[in-house]
Amino acid sequence: MNAPPLSKTSPVTGSALLTNAVGLHARPSVKLTQLAKTFSSVISVATDAAGPWIDAKSPVKIMRVKAPKGTTLYFEASGDDAADAIVALVDLVERRFDEADGDDHG
């Protein structure tokens, strides 16, 4: 269990509801971690505002969560580009990971 990342400035947070048919699945997990990796900030994700927090750059750990449709994803980022990271990640979830509807197998 990872503690929320600490930094001098307080972390930036955000949340978004998973609305794609099968939740945080293989393809969405890969997209989410790939996006997270483009930021230098330490980024964590959780399915509860109280944690446990998971490294948003680890597809293995994110797949272990098995978050289904209807789950709220909470993000927390610390670092220079933390605000941009949160905006981008929340946007990705809200865009349903750019998945075609009803075609979430991957």
Binding site: A21, V22, Q34, G102, D104, H105
Partner: protein, 538 residues
């Protein structure tokens, strides 16, 4: 060897025939160096090489295949996957053992999920595990699969699928597996017939096997006649498929203008994932026992509620007929059905079992009552033999309805109808207080002719064309017309172009078939004209 028929879950439609290539999981050996530093180094190298070989496959792949391999790459690149393996090596274990145990534990997490999509991903993890093991063992001694081969295996890895040349046909038969696995998607995309959940596939590698992917049927060592008939169907199929696909979303109307409802049979929400609701007039049969067959234990109320609700939402204004648990007979469920019955088909199956296991049945009833407000739900009860069984079921629905309502839960009473599959029920149809009737043609034929479809030697007797079977169907449709009750048919006959004319002539105006057979059913309907005596009463 006698002809033998196996039935599984269709994962990808199409025909294939030929000998079988059996893929056995390999057990290679490797001698540990005994030095943790060297073992860790070997595993690092194996992972690096596995990444290279998956990347090489990914470079050649397109579309879905590329995405599947991309997922494998992302997982294998993530140190979190190998973390426990390296810890285990540091405490003195061999590289291959450490890696296998770490990945098996990860795979177990996926297999134990209650979501079929996640469970299906376990095959990708197995693929990753084996690719790294191959590099550790330096083996790569996988059996080569000749083009056009029918592969029989427990499960199949996506990378293995992609390494086979499918340009000359072939098929995949899995004793386990899932229709939502990556390899099933690949098979559908490449039009490779695939059947999963076949159980034990008999060891007859040299013999001929016939595969009908759409029906989920396998015939081992077929008789010459069976084979000739199959090959005829296969060649007619290609031409037919082309014409049929054009009709899929059209309304099914006979040559003389009678509109026929065409519904679909499904086994779970995942069957709807790639389906356009416009191809059908609703769902005619949901086989809920598949919900029960998977995952550990029996599905709880919420799991069932969610599945039923998703189906209702998919169908929108179209009716969805969900069958209450039809376990027993040829569908045993661990911890639920009675073991060791001398004749399971004449024993405690269908509603007989549900009424004995009220603990399980009430859970399903509550899930259905809660799902009902989300669409047009019809509940269908299997194996009804006497009117009191249906009355008991209805009373249970009312009891649960009142108690949920009293607790403030949003519920709705669905229409409750019966399946007609026991000849006694067909003959006495007017005695039943049923909101609708659905003829279960598979069992009705078996019980009427006293011949099992799965027993090769008598399968030809189990024929819907027997005048006795057609007479029973006519009794039910005539009662339906007189009483204003809907009558439908679900069963393989509903998707069989050769039988559809007989069903329509017997008075049916609603048929339910596997989604992959909808186009063919509609084609058969549009080419049909009623004989004078039966014309116009639709």
């Amino acid at each position: 060897m006698a002809e033998l028929r196996l039935a599984g879950r269709p994962a990808s439609p199409g025909f294939a025939s030929g000998p079988v290539v059996r893929l056995v999981e390999q057990k290679a050996h490797r001698v540990s160096s005994g030095d943790p530093a060297r073992e860790a180094d070997d595993l690092k190298k194996a992972i690096a090489n596995a990444l290279l070989s998956i990347s090489a496959l990914a470079d050649r792949a397109e579309g879905e295949a590329a995405e599947i391999l991309g997922f494998q790459l992302a997982m294998l690149e993530d140190d979190a996957l190998s973390e426990t393996a390296f810890q285990s090596i540091a405490s003195g274990n061999a590289a291959d053992q450490a890696w296998r145990h770490a990945l098996d534990a990860e795979i177990e997490l996926y297999r134990n999920g209650d979501d079929e999509y996640f469970r299906a991903r376990s095959a990708d993890l197995e693929d990753i595990r084996d690719t790294v093991l191959d590099h550790l063992y330096g083996s790569h001694s996988q059996i080569s699969v000749p083009p056009g081969a029918i592969i029989a295996a427990r499960d199949l890895a996506p990378s293995r699928f992609l390494s086979v040349d499918w340009s000359r046909g072939g098929a995949i038969l899995l004793s386990e597996g899932s229709p939502t696995s990556h390899v099933a998607m690949l098979a559908r995309a490449r039009r490779v017939p695939m059947i999963v959940g076949l159980g034990e596939i008999p060891d007859s590698a040299s013999s001929l096997i016939l595969v009908d992917g759409a029906l989920g049927q396998v015939i081992v060592s077929p008789h010459d006649e069976t084979r000739a008939e199959f090959l005829k169907r296969q060649s007619a199929d290609e031409e037919f498929a082309l014409k049929a696909s054009a009709l899929e979303t059209a309304a099914a109307i006979t040559k003389d203008g009678t509109r026929i409802s065409v519904l679909i049979n499904i086994a779970g929400v995942e069957d709807l994932a790639h389906l356009d609701p416009n191809i059908c007039d609703g769902i005619g049969l949901v086989r809920t026992e598949f919900l029960f067959g998977e995952g550990p234990g029996l599905p709880d109320e919420d799991t069932q509620y969610k599945a039923y609700r998703q189906m209702l939402e998919w169908a929108g204004a179209r009716p969805v007929t969900i069958r209450t648990l039809d376990a027993g007979g040829d569908k045993p469920i661990k911890g639920l059905t009675v073991d060791g019955e001398s004749n399971p088909f004449l024993g405690i199956r269908g509603v007989r079992l549900s009424l004995q296991r009220l603990d399980v049945f009430r859970v399903q009833i509550r899930a259905m009552l809660r799902a009902a407000p989300h669409g047009q739900l019809k509940v269908m009860v299997p194996m009804i033999t006497v009117p009191s069984e249906l009355d008991e079921v209805r009373a249970l629905f009312h009891e649960e309805y009142e108690s949920l309502k009293a607790r403030g839960v949003k519920v709705m009473m669905p229409r409750i109808g019966m399946m007609v599959e026991v000849p006694a029920a067909a003959l006495a149809v007017s005695h039943f207080k049923s909101d609708f009737f659905s003829i279960g043609s598979n069992d009705l034929v078996q019980y009427t002719t006293a011949a099992g479809r799965d027993i090769g030697a008598v399968a030809s007797l189990a024929d819907l064309r027997h005048p006795a079977v057609l007479k029973l169907i006519e009794l039910v449709t005539a009662h339906g017309e007189k009483s204003g009750c809907d009558v439908s048919l679900c069963g393989d006959a509903g998707g069989d172009p050769e039988l559809i004319p007989l069903l329509l002539q017997a008075g049916l105006r609603s048929l339910s078939a596997a989604p992959s057979l909808v186009g063919r059913a509609k084609l058969a309907i549009t080419e049909f004209r009623f004989e004078k005596a039966g014309a116009g009463h639709g």
